[in-house]
Symmetry: C2
Subunit: 340 residues, 2 copies
DNA sequence: TTGTAGGCGTTATCAC
DNA sequence: GTGATAACGCCTACAA
């Protein structure tokens, strides 16, 4: 167990121990150029032996950078938030920057004010936004007026003056549905997410595109709206499976809803994928752990979050849109068995 | 849309506008006594009209308090973390204190160092710990040496010199199992959590106590160890239900495992609760939303987190252990139907 | 009840 | 390459 120093060591003490000026220590701390190799070594040695850690507050007060970024999360899915926090944090650790993560509740009428106050009070070096805030015109406009750096995760539309990390949701959904068609399904149900979310609309569009590409008619009865929750997926599946002419496959546009659909199938005594195939979008690796028979599009949320943080740190290099790859993960057969 | 001030207003500007000294503004800001009502009003008015927000960094640097607390989470369950963050944050907003929430991964060998560095760099006014860090002797000892305030959520054992918020896990498990016995079950399976977690041990103890109280023999074959995950619960249930003399009820000591057990029952074509009753501990409101037929002990994680933050802010009043109530939530019948 | 002076630990500026 | 010196915005201590 290390001995605890009597007082928190300061730059001054490091400077004295290394026999250089305060400013030189500061240079080493901030990785500036123009420090003699020898000086640098002496300073680093002194820092180590004193277990020196710079004061966040002092750096933020004196300098232009606060060495903190804020992650603005306003999303009802715990799994999603967890993955996002993990991804951003991983990149922050590499950069030696602190992450301020505050989950907001979408119902908070004061969201705008809270973000405002977060920015003014803590002066973060940048922000990372997640859906649906990425599409909040008013908040985005405010950030621009403040001239603060920010990066969007999976925004509805790519803007030429905002960096973003995302996957192509429409293409992914089309790949998934295209696969189901390829293995023989003709009636494919869709459990769509709430239309307020751009992600939902994109995935629904991909579903429609795949049908069109295969010259299949779109049956409105096969489309149900969910809320991205297990419960809504479960209910939507029940409605679909109760149709006079039920689908042979169901595509759910989020993992929670897919899990709900699967539970419903089980509850109804249907065997998956024998009686009905269930496919889904896996935003959070939920399906991977939980539902072996589920075929999914794996969206690497953590990787998107990591990329977003990376873009933030590289923002001075200009606006960039980084597309992250998705995977089609086929678990078991997805072909229809039941003769209809 | 409010106009954006040219520069961030400082105390000095507020003071000039209100016609008082800087110190008086500071007094108002910190709710100190000895400020004339009239002065206070003038200052508040000035603050409002300038949209003044104090600088976190400057306050932390100059004062003894940093107006931030840190939430140390090192837990693999996204739902749990979500609830904890929500609870702590709610109390922080009331207190006008910022929450630094950083999820650590339990595998991080450098956990100790990271917490160290968090404390030294950001100088938080206090910490909130969640399991299993609450039981990490080495980390706890370090916090004590630093003389930093902290509160534990659901620690293994209550310590006379550490404040804590918790529920009585053993009693809760005993209530649940006692209920199953009361409605007629004689063979009750247990899906225990990993024995490294105090919570698991406490819940398992409650299970045993309830059997003892009812003069029922404990059959070791009916106890399976899970990992608090859906998958492990699912597997454990499969083993239990494959026994020559399977249980008529299964008690899972976490929500994810209970959900897994339920999925297994469905997959095996068993009707719940007709063929087998499933009961569980609901740490995160998962069961409430997701699994209507599940009877559970509802652990109000969010309330515990809120209470922990409350204790932290009241810490000067001395050590306190606050026990939070749990609820036995019976959904549908839990009585055994199957003749065995 | 109010104000003045000094300093918190770091970075920015500018000379050397 | 390096080092004085002045900020940064607020709080503490003390005086009035």
């Amino acid at each position: 167990m290390r001995p605890l120093p009597d007082r928190k060591p300061t730059i001054k003490q490091v400077a004295e121990r290394a026999g250089v000026s305060i400013k030189t220590v500061s240079r080493v701390l901030n990785n500036e150029r123009y420090v003699a190799v020898e000086s640098r070594q002496r300073v680093e040695e002194a820092m180590r032996s004193l277990a020196f850690q710079p004061s966040q507050a002092a750096r933020a007060l004196a300098g232009k950078k606060s060495h903190q970024i804020a992650l603005i999360c306003d999303n009802p899915s715990p799994y999603y938030i967890y993955e996002v926090q993990a991804g951003v944090r991983a990149r922050c650790i590499e950069q030696n920057v602190r992450m301020i993560a505050q989950p907001y509740s979408i119902n908070s009428a004061s969201l705008h004010d809270e973000i405002d106050s977060l920015i003014v009070q803590t002066n973060p070096d940048g922000l990372i936004l997640t859906p649906p805030i990425t599409d909040n015109k008013s908040i985005i406009a405010d950030l621009r007026r403040r001239e603060i750096n920010f990066v969007c995760m999976s925004p509805e539309a790519l803007s030429p003056d905002t960096s973003a990390a995302y996957i192509d949701n429409a293409a992914a959904a089309a790949v998934m549905v295209g696969h189901l068609i390829a293995v023989g399904h003709r009636r494919i149900g869709l459990i769509a997410g709430h239309p307020d979310y751009a992600t939902s609309r994109q995935r629904s569009a991909g579903y429609r595109q795949a049908l069109t590409d295969a010259n299949l008619a779109l049956d409105p009865a096969l489309i149900k709206i969910g809320q991205f929750t297990f419960k809504s997926g479960s209910e939507a599946a029940a409605e679909l499976l109760a149709l006079p002419d039920p689908p042979s496959a169901i595509f759910a546009s989020s993992d929670d809803m897919a899990a709900g659909a699967l539970a419903t199938a089980h509850r109804l005594g249907l065997s998956v994928p024998h009686d009905v195939s269930i496919a889904g979008f896996d935003d959070t690796a939920l399906a991977e752990v939980v539902w072996p028979p589920l075929t999914t599009i794996r969206q690497p949320t953590r990787a998107i979050a990591y990329a977003a943080a990376d873009l933030l740190f590289a923002q001075s290099d200009g606006i960039e849109h980084r597309k992250i790859d998705f995977d089609l993960i086929i678990r078991g057969s997805t072909a229809p068995f039941k003769s209809k």
